[in-house]
């Protein structure tokens, strides 16, 4: 490649960095590290026990978990529960805590073409609404809260 071209490319790269830097800072990766072992995340994301009552709220909240859009759960006061995924009654008899945790964190790590959203993931997404960009649906502690709630479904 001739040198004027190369010069141009350096300039473009420099500009890209200048633009990218503040954005990267604003959306600094907020996810805690976790290890997947045999299609499960055996360790708590936070080390702080989850609060099942808050987890129950999160699975109902349409702006947050909205799990009832797709799943039936033993939450009798909520009408119109979805029939897209399996009924979650008794799910803790079928799955271990670690399996439940990976399912909530990133269902696609188990079933790549699942329609179930990843609740603790920010990469590989396209055209996320501005105010949500770079943010996972749940915080690490909220994942633990939801897992704690699912653990009550025996």
């Amino acid at each position: 490649m001739s040198s004027p071209h190369r010069g141009q490319r350096v300039a473009v790269v420099a500009l890209a960095f200048a633009l990218a830097a503040p954005i990267a800072a604003a959306h600094a990766d907020p996810l805690v590290h976790y290890d997947v072992v045999d299609k499960a995340i055996p360790q708590s994301l936070t080390g702080v026990p989850g609060d099942p009552a808050n987890g129950r709220k999160l699975v109902i909240d349409r702006a947050r978990g909205n799990c009832l859009a797709c799943h039936e759960m033993p939450i009798p006061e909520q009408d119109f529960q979805g029939t897209i995924g399996p009924d979650l009654k008794g799910v803790a008899d079928r799955l271990t805590e670690g399996q439940l945790r990976l399912r909530v964190v990133d269902a696609k790590a188990i079933t790549p073409d699942s329609v179930m959203p990843a609740f603790y993931r920010t990469d590989g997404l396209y055209r996320v609404a501005d105010k949500l960009a770079g943010k996972p649906i749940f915080s690490a502690q909220e994942v633990e809260d939801v897992v704690a709630y699912l653990e009550t479904l025996k």
């Binding site: 979805g82 897209i84 699942s114 329609v115 396209y126 055209r127 996320v128 609404a129």
Partner: protein, 270 residues
């Protein structure tokens, strides 16, 4: 994917409502026959009987208000040229019959596919020398609904070959592209999950033969692009702008998926 979900459903002992309905519908025994063409099913098939009844009776169908308003606008001169639509096209009942079944359609003047709304504004600019009607304005909805209503009962029949082909391909790509914080595509809900319950909604095929549609949820009539924006928001995605190429191409793909379904405009939906 289909198998994964189907397996999960069977394992969980769930039989989707929609599957039962679809089976009913296939027999054509409940008057739904004309809304089912091969494996294509209009949103009418998934609608509640009350909602269907409201659509079927012109005196009850709230969308007819827009048809009437459009009829008035059709013959009312507007713009610097002092013309109305009628000046060039005469009686819409003849000149516009079947026209909407071909939209979105490739337009050689702009070198891309345009939808019916854009075609209306093109005539306003060129022939009437009038200002465009803004998206979702009462006038644009009225004119679009009036014109599409002239094709009511006729099969949708958009062309996707020739110059339309690259736009169709883009629309198809958009239909299958996962997006938003929920990482879903149009196909996730309207292909893979057809007939399943998403909370209180039964997922339909997302057919477009009834648009502009009166939605009880909106308490007004709206364009297809308004509906698509709503679905984008459900996926927690950043919607495109009204009139954007992305949405027009997607509209073309959606129309093609429903080729053969009868125009219902104005449809009534939940």
């Amino acid at each position: 994917m289909k198998y994964v979900i189907a397996g999960a459903m069977v394992a969980a002992g769930l039989l989707a409502h929609g599957a039962v309905r679809a089976a009913d519908a296939q027999t054509g025994g409940d008057g739904l026959g004309k809304y089912i063409v091969g494996d294509k099913r209009s949103g009418y098939v998934f609608a509640e009987p009350d909602t269907r009844a409201m659509q079927d009776d012109d005196f009850q169908n709230p969308g007819m208000v827009w048809v009437e308003a459009g009829k008035q606008l059709w013959s009312t001169p507007d713009g610097a040229a002092g013309k109305s639509c009628q000046t060039c096209h005469g009686d819409a009942a003849t000149s516009m019959k079947g026209v909407a079944t071909h939209y979105p359609k490739f337009n050689p003047r702009v070198g891309k596919v345009i939808d019916l709304e854009q075609r209306i504004d093109m005539c306003r600019a060129k022939a009437l020398q009038a200002k465009p009607y803004p998206w979702e304005s009462h006038e644009l909805l009225a004119m679009t609904t009036f014109i599409k209503n002239q094709s009511r009962g006729m099969p949708m029949n958009v062309a996707v070959d020739g110059p339309a082909a690259p736009f169709f391909e883009k629309g198809k790509e958009s239909f299958y592209r996962r997006r938003g914080q929920l990482d879903l595509s149009c196909a996730s809900c309207h292909e893979t999950l057809e007939g399943r319950h998403l909370r209180a909604d039964v997922l339909s095929q997302g057919q477009t033969n009834g648009f502009p549609t009166y939605r009880l949820g909106w308490q007004t009539l709206g364009s297809l692009q308004k509906r698509i924006k709503g679905c984008d928001k459900q996926m927690r995605a950043d919607p495109h702008a009204f009139g954007s190429d992305e949405y027009v191409n997607l509209e073309l793909y959606l129309a093609w998926r429903g080729n053969g379904l009868p125009v219902e405009t104005p449809a009534v939906r939940k």
